[in-house]
C-alpha cells in the first residue's frame, strides 16, 4: 500500500509538471499579451511604450527562460507579481480561496444531502411513478444551464423578497456566510445532486440484485434493514467516486455561478485573469486547480482502498 501511495504521488508530480507546461504554452500562443490589454483601456497602442512594458515584464525572454523563472520561483514560494495589480500573486489569490472553498463545500453538502436519499428512494421503488418522476427530475437537473438556473433564482428573489443574495461585503459569522452562499450553492449543487442521485440509484440497483442482499432478505431481515445496512453501505462507494469526478465539474459550475451572483472567489477571478492575459495569475491559478483535482482523486482512491479491501492496486 505504501509503495502504491508513493507511486501515485510520483505520478501526481508528473501530471502537475505536464499541466504547468501545457498552461504555460497555451497562454503564450495567444495572440496579444498583457501589454495589448493594458493599452486597450487607453484606446491606443504606442509601439515604443508597448515594447517597454513587454521588456519590463520579461515577456521578450526566450520561453524556456520564462518557464524556468516561474517554476524556480514556485520552489522558493514566490508566485510572482500580477501584471494588472502589480501585487504578489499569492496576496491576490489567497483571500479568494476560502470564499470559493466555502461555496464548493456547501454545494457538495447540498448535493449529497439531496442526491443520496433520493437515489435510494428511486432505486427501492424501481419503475414506480415516483422513480420515473425522480429520474426525470434528475435528468432535468443535468440539462439546465446552471447560470440560467442562477438567473431564474435571482429574478425570483427580487420579485418575491425584494432583495437578492449578492455578495457585497464579507460576512462575519458562520450563519451570515451560510445565508450569503446558500442560494448560489443550491444553484451549483443542483446539477451535482442530480448526478449523485443517478449514480446512487444505479449502484443501489446493482447491489440490491446481488447475492448477499438476497441472503439477507431470505434470512428474514426487514426490507428497511436490508436497504440501509446492506445495500446502501455498498452502494456508497461509486458515490464517493462521483464526488471525486464532481470536484472538477463543480468548478465549471462555480465559474458561471460566481459570475451571476457576483461572488469574488477564485473561479470568477480566473475568467478575469484569462481576459487580462495576466499570465502569472492564470498559470498559478490553473496549477492550483489541478493540484486540488489531482489530490481529491488521490484521496478518493485511498478511501476506496480503505473501505473496500477487495480492490487490489497493482494496476
Amino acid at each position: 500500500m505504501l509503495t502504491y501511495i508513493i507511486r501515485r504521488l510520483l505520478l501526481m508530480v508528473v501530471t502537475l509538471f505536464g499541466v504547468s507546461v501545457v498552461i504555460f504554452l497555451l497562454l503564450r500562443i495567444v495572440p496579444g499579451n498583457i501589454a495589448d490589454i493594458l493599452f486597450d483601456s487607453a484606446g491606443l497602442i504606442d509601439p515604443a511604450e508597448k515594447a517597454k512594458i513587454v521588456a519590463d515584464l520579461g515577456l521578450d525572454l526566450p520561453l524556456p527562460q520564462q518557464y524556468a523563472q516561474w517554476i524556480g520561483g514556485l520552489f522558493r514560494g514566490d508566485l510572482g507579481f500580477s501584471y494588472v495589480s502589480e501585487k504578489p500573486v499569492l496576496d491576490e489569490i489567497a483571500p479568494r480561496i476560502p470564499i470559493t472553498a466555502r461555496l464548493a463545500a456547501l454545494a457538495l453538502f447540498f448535493s449529497i444531502v439531496a442526491g443520496v436519499p433520493l437515489g435510494v428512494i428511486s432505486a427501492v421503488r424501481q419503475n414506480s411513478g415516483l422513480d420515473y418522476g425522480l429520474r426525470v427530475l434528475s435528468l432535468s437537473g443535468l440539462s439546465m444551464p446552471s447560470f440560467w438556473l442562477g438567473l431564474l433564482i435571482l429574478m425570483f428573489c427580487v420579485h418575491f423578497f425584494g432583495t437578492i443574495p449578492i455578495y457585497d461585503r464579507a460576512p462575519e459569522t458562520f450563519w451570515a456566510w451560510f445565508a450569503m452562499l446558500a442560494i448560489p450553492a443550491a444553484a451549483v449543487g443542483f446539477r451535482s445532486s442530480a448526478l449523485i442521485m443517478r449514480l446512487t440509484r444505479s449502484s443501489m440497483l446493482e447491489v440490491l440484485g446481488q447475492d448477499f442482499v438476497r441472503t439477507a432478505r431470505s434470512k428474514g431481515l426487514s426490507e428497511a434493514n436490508v436497504t440501509y445496512n446492506h445495500a446502501l453501505r455498498n452502494a456508497v462507494l461509486p458515490v464517493i467516486t462521483t464526488i471525486g469526478i464532481e470536484t472538477a465539474f463543480l468548478f465549471g459550475g462555480l465559474i458561471v455561478t460566481e459570475t451571476v451572483f457576483n461572488i469574488p472567489g477564485v473561479a470568477r477571478f480566473l475568467v478575469e485573469a484569462i481576459r487580462w492575459r495576466d499570465y502569472p495569475m492564470v498559470q498559478n491559478l490553473v496549477l492550483f486547480i489541478a493540484i486540488i483535482v489531482v489530490t481529491v482523486n488521490l484521496i478518493v482512491d485511498l478511501i476506496y482502498m480503505v473501505v473496500d479491501p477487495r480492490i487490489r492496486y497493482s494496476e
Partner: protein, 531 residues
C-alpha cells in the same frame, strides 16, 4: 419652574436647529455605495482613458482648475479655481500663469507645491520619462512648450501658440495633479492625492474603497465618511442590486435608457438621468487598402447607413445624430440642425440615399445577384457587436454582404495599428466636449488615436487656426466646417452619439452632473446622504 425652563430650552433648541437646518442641511457621515462595471485597469487616471478609472479615483485628487459644478454644461467660461487660486495670460496669450493654494497637503502628509504641477505636466507631455506605463493623452498637450515654476506657489505653462482650450483640458477629470515624490507603480495601485477622499483599498475585480480625508483643504468637506465601489460585471445583477437597496448610485453612463426605464418601473422614486456619454459609434474604413481606396465605394458605404435606425434600436431614438462634435443643445460645438441638413448622408431621406448608393454599386459591377462580400471587424464587446450587427443589416441595402469578424480586445488595437482590416466598427469616447481634444486626439496626422491615419494637410491648418481663436461664435463656424469636411471625406463616419443613464436613490444629495461630459464631476465633496 424647572419644567418651564426646560420647555423654553427645548423650543429655543428647536429654533436654533431649524435655522441651522436652512443653512447647513447637509448631513455628515455615511458611506456611499456605488456599483462598478469592471475592474479598472489601474488607479492612475493619467494612464487610462476609461470611466472605470476616472470616476472612482477622481475624488482622490484635485485639478488646477475645475468645471463649475453648478453649470449644467461644461463650458470654457464656467471654470473655477481648484488647487490654483487664480490665473492670468501674458506674452500675447502664450503664457498661462497659475497662483497656487497655500497649506495644501498630500494624503501622505507632504506639502503640495508648484514642483508637483511641473512634474505632472512634464510627465504627460512626455518630457519626463519613467513614471507612466502608457500615456494616452499625450496629443492633448502638443502646444505646451514648457512648464516653469516661480517659487512654491506659482507655475507657468509656456505655449507655442495661444490656445483657449488649454484651460478647458486642465479642468477635466482626466487632468489631476500628481505628487512628484510618489513612484509610478504606487500611483497605479495606491494613489496619493490632495482630494477630499483618501485611497483605502483596491481589491482586484472586487471593490475600491475610499475614506474621508479629514485634512481636506475645503473646510467642513467632504460630508461622506467614505465611498465604496463594488465591481459587478453583470449589468443585470448590478441593476437588481441597486433596486434591492444594496447600492446608492450606479457607475455613470453605464446603463442604457431602457435599463433606466426598467429600474424606475420597479422603484418609481429612483432618480435616473439619461444624457450623452461622450462616446460615439463610428466606422473605421481602411482607405489605403483595396477596395476602399476607391472613394465611390466609401461613399456608397456611407449612403447605406440609416443613422435614425441605429439610434432607434440602440437607444429608442435617444442617441443623438451628429458629426465628430457632440450635437446641441447638450454639446457646445456640434452642428445646428439646419447646418446638419446640408451634410451628405445626414438628410432625412434614407431611401433616396440608398438608391444613390445602389446606383454607385451597380456602376462598380455589383447588384442583387452579385453582392460584394465584406468583412466587418469589431471588438468582442457588447456595444461594438450590437452596432456591427445593425451595420451589416444596413449594408445589404447597397448590395454588400457583410460578415462579422469579432476580435478579442487584446488583438483589436494591434490589428488597427497594422491596418489589417477593411471596415471596422468602433465605439470611442472623448473626455471633454472641446474641438482641440477631438481633432488633435482623433483626426490629426500622426496621433496614436487616429486609427485610420486620416491625414489632410488642408484640415491640419484649420485645426490650428480654430485652436487659436478666442471668439466663440467665429470659432464654432470653423469647427462646423471642419466637421463637415471630415464626414464628407469619410475620415471616420460617425453613426451615432451615445446616451447613457446614471441612477441613484433620492437619499443621495448634492450630486451634480454635466450634460456634455460624464468624466468631470466625480469629486464628491458636495455629496451627502440623507438617511
Amino acid at each position: 419652574m424647572a419644567g418651564w425652563l426646560a420647555r423654553m430650552a427645548l423650543v429655543c433648541g428647536l429654533m436654533v436647529s431649524a435655522i441651522a437646518g436652512v443653512a447647513h442641511a447637509q448631513k455628515q457621515g455615511g458611506v456611499l455605495r456605488v456599483t462598478h462595471r469592471d475592474n479598472p485597469p489601474s488607479a492612475s487616471i493619467h494612464e487610462e482613458a476609461t470611466i472605470s478609472t476616472d470616476m472612482p479615483f477622481m475624488a482622490v485628487f484635485n485639478n488646477l482648475v475645475i468645471f463649475d459644478p453648478d453649470s449644467e454644461q461644461n463650458r470654457p467660461d464656467r471654470i473655477l479655481p481648484d488647487l490654483a487660486t487664480s490665473w492670468h495670460l501674458s506674452d500675447g496669450d502664450r503664457k498661462l500663469t497659475f497662483q497656487l493654494r497655500d497649506g495644501v497637503r498630500w494624503h501622505d502628509g507632504k506639502p503640495f507645491s508648484s514642483a508637483d504641477v511641473k512634474c505632472t505636466w512634464d510627465m504627460v507631455t512626455g518630457r519626463m520619462d519613467g513614471k507612466m506605463r502608457k500615456n494616452p493623452r499625450k496629443s492633448w498637450w502638443f502646444n505646451v512648450k514648457d512648464v516653469t515654476t516661480n517659487g512654491a506657489r506659482e507655475v507657468t505653462f509656456h505655449l507655442n501658440e495661444p490656445q483657449p482650450s488649454l484651460l478647458v483640458m486642465l479642468a477635466g477629470g482626466f487632468s489631476p495633479v500628481y505628487p512628484c515624490h510618489v513612484p509610478g507603480n504606487l500611483m497605479r495601485t495606491h494613489p496619493i492625492g490632495t482630494g477630499p477622499f483618501k485611497f483605502a483599498e483596491f481589491k482586484q475585480n472586487e471593490s475600491i474603497k475610499l475614506v474621508r480625508n479629514p485634512d481636506y483643504w475645503k473646510p467642513g468637506k467632504p460630508y461622506l465618511e467614505g465611498i465604496e465601489y463594488t465591481i459587478i460585471p453583470s449589468r443585470a445583477t448590478a441593476m437588481l442590486a441597486l433596486v434591492s437597496g444594496k447600492f446608492d448610485l450606479t457607475l455613470t453612463g453605464e446603463l442604457s435608457s431602457e435599463n433606466a426605464k426598467e429600474i424606475q418601473a420597479q422603484v418609481p422614486q429612483m432618480q435616473c438621468i439619461v444624457q450623452p456619454s461622450n462616446t460615439q459609434g463610428n466606422l473605421l474604413v481602411n482607405r489605403d487598402k483595396p477596395p476602399f481606396d476607391d472613394p465611390r465605394l466609401r461613399r456608397a458605404l456611407g449612403l447605406a447607413i440609416d443613422r435614425k435606425a441605429f439610434s432607434e434600436i440602440l437607444s429608442r431614438g435617444l442617441n443623438k445624430i451628429g458629426g465628430a462634435m457632440l450635437a446641441p443643445p447638450e454639446g457646445l460645438w456640434g452642428w445646428s440642425p439646419e447646418f446638419m441638413e446640408t451634410v451628405p448622408g445626414y438628410g432625412g431621406d434614407v431611401e433616396k440615399s440608398r438608391e444613390e448608393g445602389r446606383k454607385i454599386m451597380r456602376e462598380l459591377g455589383y447588384g442583387p445577384d452579385k453582392m460584394m462580400p465584406l468583412k466587418v471587424t469589431t471588438r468582442n464587446v457588447a456595444s461594438y457587436r450590437d452596432s456591427s450587427v445593425i451595420l451589416i443589416d444596413h449594408l445589404k441595402s447597397v448590395y454588400i454582404q457583410g460578415e462579422l469578424e469579432v476580435l478579442d480586445s487584446s488583438v483589436w488595437y494591434a490589428r488597427l495599428l497594422r491596418k489589417d482590416y477593411a471596415v471596422g466598427m468602433n465605439v470611442q469616447g472623448t473626455g471633454i466636449d472641446d474641438p482641440d481634444v477631438q481633432f488633435f486626439e482623433n483626426y490629426t496626422c500622426g496621433s496614436e488615436r487616429n486609427y485610420t491615419a486620416y491625414c489632410n494637410p488642408e484640415l491640419e491648418k484649420l485645426y490650428r487656426q480654430q485652436s487659436m481663436m478666442t471668439d466663440f461664435e467665429a470659432r464654432r463656424k470653423v469647427v462646423w466646417e471642419i466637421d463637415r469636411k471630415l464626414q464628407e471625406d469619410g475620415a471616420r463616419p460617425v453613426i451615432y452619439q451615445s446616451q447613457g443613464a446614471t441612477c441613484w436613490w433620492p437619499h443621495v444629495k448634492g450630486l451634480k452632473l454635466a450634460v456634455n461630459s460624464i468624466y468631470n464631476h466625480w469629486r464628491f465633496d458636495d455629496v451627502w446622504l440623507d438617511r
